[in-house]
Symmetry: C2
Subunit: 193 residues, 2 copies
């Protein structure tokens, strides 16, 4: 920081905490990292982290720039007819990639994880510990985590081709057509054989 | 280049040509870019490009670091029983991502395209103009290019989760199991409704 003489502001403190949390989560994993340890590494009181971010899960989400509250999304997707979970997940995913407010952070996460091991570790932790953990409870049958991975692979790969490579004709396909074509595949992955 | 006084060597010339070709293909697209134009931009004789690389397609492949000869791969995949195309494509894809000789360049391409617009443009051109053009001729029915995109989305997304994020249990799944699980999905995408 330049020696301006001013005391560190809120934005500085927040950034310091986010950076420290990123490193901690990437290095030790979500389970082992603690709010107390992160506070200690940043030389602040743990209460300050709780004041700025809330729970450990909230801090983690802030550290990776994830634009959703996973528990809320999971609750919304798993509510209602189980047979419709695949279509709800597909529509939620593709619509999130269309809206500027969520597209920008999602693109940043996908790009960042592709090039920085720390970012990749963070996203891996997030998928394994939070998103999958929330969704697999709604999935019957064995291999639920693997089947969810294959479904996420279908969705993420299309996002990569559509929004990063912008390959035609996929990039110009209306979202409703995409949802209609891809939902049965996602439902197939989520349904045990 | 530092003023070492030595004449540019073969490696320097090759790198200059690859860099010039990357820019040309990314800026004007594969169709419009010419060997003559790239030679002119690099201040060399077009014959030198042909000597180093061969055809425009070969130069393009060198520029993006693509580790296969697309025509040869397409011929191999489309030979034999058409009903087996999905499984052959799936097996070829996942095995290429396992072998160090091909995994490293594929990872570099996927990472590079995620963060550099020029690299993304190159990969887009490659998929649209070469790989899809070679494979869609073997695909019956309408929307062949879109269906191939959806199939590539499934494969690429799994590669992203398995080799970049290394999400479990997908990252540890044996290739044969992956092929068995994913082939029917790819065959479904490639088969018109």
């Amino acid at each position: 920081m330049p020696p301006t003489g001013r005391r560190p502001g809120k934005a500085d403190t927040r950034k310091l905490l986010v950076d420290t949390a990123r490193r901690a989560f990437a290095e030790t994993g979500y389970e082992k990292a603690t709010v107390r340890g992160i506070a200690s590494a940043a030389s602040v009181d743990p209460a300050l982290i709780r004041h700025y971010f809330g729970t450990k899960a909230d801090l983690f989400r802030a550290a990776m720039g994830w634009p959703f509250e996973p528990a809320e999304v999971a609750a919304r997707l798993t509510a209602g007819d189980p047979a419709g979970l695949g279509e709800r997940l597909t529509r939620f995913f593709f619509e999130a990639w269309e809206q500027p407010r969520t597209q920008a952070p999602l693109l940043a996460i996908m790009r960042g994880a592709a090039t920085h091991d720390e970012s990749a570790a963070l996203v891996r932790e997030f998928l394994e510990q939070q998103l999958y953990a929330q969704l697999t409870t709604a999935l019957p049958g064995p291999d639920a985590a693997l089947r969810l991975n294959l479904a996420m692979g279908q969705l993420l790969g299309i996002a990569y081709l559509r929004h990063i490579l912008r390959v035609e004709p996929l990039a110009s396909e209306p979202v409703d057509n995409l949802v209609a074509r891809v939902s049965p595949v996602i439902t197939g992955h989520l349904t045990p054989e």
